[in-house]
Symmetry: C3
Subunit: 174 residues, 3 copies
């Protein structure tokens, strides 16, 4: 796939990032990695380093923990694969910053299907456990579910990843 | 599909209710919405209002937060689509009321496959997160998993919904 | 299937154990059940008893709450089906005992695809809920996700079970 948009959905440690990177690599296009993680603590810092090491030198990295809509719109270009990893950390950053989740998510999902080149978006499915006791966690879970639905509705392909294995939910298989 | 039973399974904010409503609408049958939610707080009240607004005037709504078995049996009729939204809130009501979960779930799942018309049941998958620390939550999770298995075994079709997209687990695809 | 390896993945109370047992039974081979559960409390004791009763007398049971790698290697034989139920409890035992998770998981997953007979491994998907607040739970979730990926990469078949229904993620369907 050399143009269009793909949503890669999965759980924590499901292999979704590696799968998304493989999709971008398989395109043969120039690769841009849009990182939404903020290394707030040692645990997160380690995870970021682990991901960077796996990607290697073939990627240009852009940091966009907040202004993701602008970064994606600016980087998208014909002949280029832009990978966003991930919508879940971005949403979490927005929530902690007290941003207007609804309008921001609308702006982001509105870009899907309208940009040149290949766009690969990684996101977590977080709604398959018990209802969280924490009200903020419930709000996050709701916003994440709605964002995933909106992006999925506009994406050309949606893939669910479990134990490193992809399952096609929408669009042509690889 | 104009007769038979469908279980629509999914996570929180997965689009499972909208999918279930679309299935009932596609049947072309007279539609009855059996609501199990009790507006215990503002958060729940908002969610109920949101769901009602989406359905519009084409549905007759029956409230059955407790006596769901009776409501389903009474409403089922040839040429009619009965949608139950959802088994998870019903189970949660039963648990809080100290009801006999096992016999109530057996009564409910025993109806599946034996009623006239189309029956669409919405339920949450809640067992794909970390084991809850709360014993009541673990009991709920177990009861929900067993109920889902029992209903799925008797249903003609089972659909898993993620990010608004259906994945067939059993029976013919749409 | 009379030889090779199958990973059966699913949530709590998803019917994954029953599905794994059915796979082993369908092989027609001599059956060994490798149990990793430790009856630490009444809740767990009950669950173990429930599983034993379902299996009946056709199984030989081996307890391996810790030294699972050795038990699997020792029991595997041509013409025999070895079922491990489950990797999640084993990992939890290791974590509580302060074991070196990485090397132990590598040893276990390294066996998959290299043993005679049929090997069926049951494991939980635990990463599809909200991020746990508890650091130990996050560590467990990460280790479980990595172990599932490593085992899935080496297994001949991977099946995801929801509401008692299998969905093939890898390999030939039944």
């Amino acid at each position: 796939m050399k143009a269009g948009s793909v949503l890669v959905l999965g759980g924590a440690r499901s292999g979704k990032s590696a799968h998304a990177e493989a999709l971008a690599a398989a395109s043969g296009l120039e690769r841009v990695y849009v990182a939404t993680a903020e290394p707030r603590d040692a645990e997160m810092g380690e995870r970021i380093a682990h991901h960077r090491a796996r990607r290697g030198a073939l990627w240009r990295t852009v940091e966009a923990p907040d202004a993701l809509e602008q970064a994606v719109a600016a980087e998208a270009a014909p002949g280029r694969a832009v990978l966003v990893d991930c919508l879940t950390l971005w949403l979490s950053n927005l929530l902690l910053a007290g941003a207007d989740l609804e309008s921001r998510c609308r702006a982001l999902s509105g870009l899907v299907g309208r940009l040149p080149g290949l766009l690969v978006l990684v996101s977590n499915e977080v709604g398959l456990g018990i209802v969280p006791e924490n009200a903020l966690a419930r709000r996050f879970r709701d916003a994440q579910g709605r964002l995933n639905q909106d992006v999925a509705a506009r994406a050309d392909r949606v893939v669910f990843v479990a134990a490193g294995l992809p399952l096609s939910l929408k669009g042509p298989c690889e």
